[in-house]
Amino acid sequence: MSDYLILSGVLFAIGALGVLVRRNALIVFMSIELMLNAVNLAFVSFARQLNDMTGQVIVFFVLVVAAAEVVVGLAIIVNIFRTKETVDIDDIDLLRG
Amino acid sequence: MGPLWVVLAITAVKSLVVIVALLTAFAYMTWLERRLVSRFQVRIGPNRVGPFGLLQPVADGIKLFFKEDFMPSGADRALYFIAPGLAMVTAFTAFAVIPFGPPEVKLWGVPLLQIANPNAGILFILAVSSIGLYGIILGGWSSNSKYPLLGALRSSAQMISYELGVGLTLVSVILLSGTLQLPQIVEQQTLTWFGFLPRWNIFVIPVGPLAFLLFLIGATAETNRAPFDLPESEQELTAGYHTEYGGMKFAAFFVAEYVNLVTASAVAVTLFFGGWDGPFVDQVPLLGVLWFIAKVFAFVFFFIWLRATLPRVRYDQLMDLGWKLLVPLAILNLAITSAIVLIWPSLGGG
């Protein structure tokens, strides 16, 4: 059973690496999604281990949060691109618009 | 059920038979569509190759096979190759959950007339068709050309919008049947009312016909058929997302399109017209396959008829129809269905 959990840890670490290394806002965003997915895998593994459906139902809520997050996040990225003509997060370092 | 390898072997054979059948259906649908549209437009259509032009699909296939395999300059090599394959594979995969005959026909305990029966049934079709969308998007994007890109953008927006309406409509059918699995949905429709009227979902007044209408509109849009064929509208976008494709890769897109049409028809038949249900199926189970094919054929004919009859809508009209009419009506239909199932629980499966 721990092989599934280790795999979810590996995927989470890869996602974190993506967030830390990449500067393209879209790919950073996808890496965050990858981390959410890794957590989903851990939830489903625990559901299997404990023979309890709660773990699978939590995945449903993670999916909802991910959907809402992506919708708003992508709208923000598009807005930034409209004003600054870039999605490189190093270029978006000003707090004023 | 027999041992694992027996099940796997039977499944492989079933899949092979279905794929060959679908490919044959595809070949003759292209012929049928050209002949029929010609008739609708008072032309004759392809009649040179073989009697009634029946060998036309073979000639077309040979032509496409020997065409030069080119690639537009600046195209994204890997994605340009993946896209048509993805479109074709997912089109075939979606058909896997459709029952084309009664489940009693078995070999070593494995039902022969359906490839697979997952618990999530209908949702599987939605899932696979949503992956099929990537074939179209990637095909359009990787060609590095403006018409395909526009086609891909239109297609993705259109399919996401209509998937919502179709999904909501499917929920009301699921409520009526009380299950997601397609064989059970068909099984329920084999019952009768007053001993003679089949209990097909289309006859569940008033929600059945409305759900069917919504599903039909949504399915037409999802399969990119006229009058919703904006992703490939010839007059504006040359050929839309597959403008830059030729030879076998174009053929793959073409196959995907027609197989999707067959799948959409088969889903409509399964959900609303009792699937393989028909007279004398109880006595001769294999007769169900014939009924099923006949019903699917009727739908394919209907879609061709639709294409020859209706003009293409504008893109804003398409979006208005999807979001302002289809989705609200689907929600309304869902509410009525829930109320009906609540009042007469015997109607639902649960």
């Binding site: 721990s2 795999l7 790919i27 989903n40 895998l41 281990q49 995945v59 449903f60 598009v78 | 939605l126």
Partner: protein, 166 residues
């Protein structure tokens, strides 16, 4: 059989996610991510979570990632990264940090000393079971989730309006 499938899917998931964070073109990343999502759905199937696996494909691959692709195509050519690396130590440090994270997490999981998984309960992971758990124990979170989605929709509409109403 199961462990062979697990290894294939696990390698596919890790490989495609590594591909995702290393490609320079966002479209390639998105397609690699599609691979990760599909292999994760396969892993869910191995864990008796059929309904969640299908949801994963329908929602993630069918809606979320398509939205990503849509935005990538809208921003098209100019959506790359600048070539200048502003922080010199960023890359090595990031790798060290994620490896440390991985080591910590793996240590915790191994520490827990999980035994073999029990035989799954009848009907585990089917739509019926998910529905029962969801509506028996999580009805309030379910409603809150719908409000969250509504907020997301409104937020997206407000943000992507070209000019504000003021």
């Amino acid at each position: 059989m199961r462990s062979v499938l697990f290894w294939i899917l696990a390698l596919a998931a890790v490989g495609s996610s590594l591909t995702m964070i290393t490609r320079s073109k966002p479209v390639h990343s998105a397609i690699a991510f599609l691979g990760t999502l599909v292999s994760l759905a396969g892993l869910f199937l191995l864990l008796y979570a059929q309904f969640v696996a299908i949801l994963q494909i329908v929602i993630y691959a069918g809606a979320i990632l398509v939205l990503f692709l849509f935005v990538i195509m809208l921003l098209h050519a100019r959506s790359g990264e600048g070539s200048v690396e502003k922080l010199r130590l960023q890359r090595p440090l990031a790798i060290v940090l994620s490896l440390a994270l991985l080591a910590g997490v793996s240590f915790l999981f191994l520490q827990a000393g999980l035994s073999e998984a029990p035989t799954p309960a009848a009907g585990m992971g089917t739509a019926e079971e998910v529905g029962k758990t969801l509506f028996d124990h999580f009805i309030l979170p379910f409603e809150v989730a719908s409000v969250l989605l509504l907020a997301g929709i409104l937020g997206a509409v407000v943000l992507s309006k070209k000019e504000s109403w003021s």
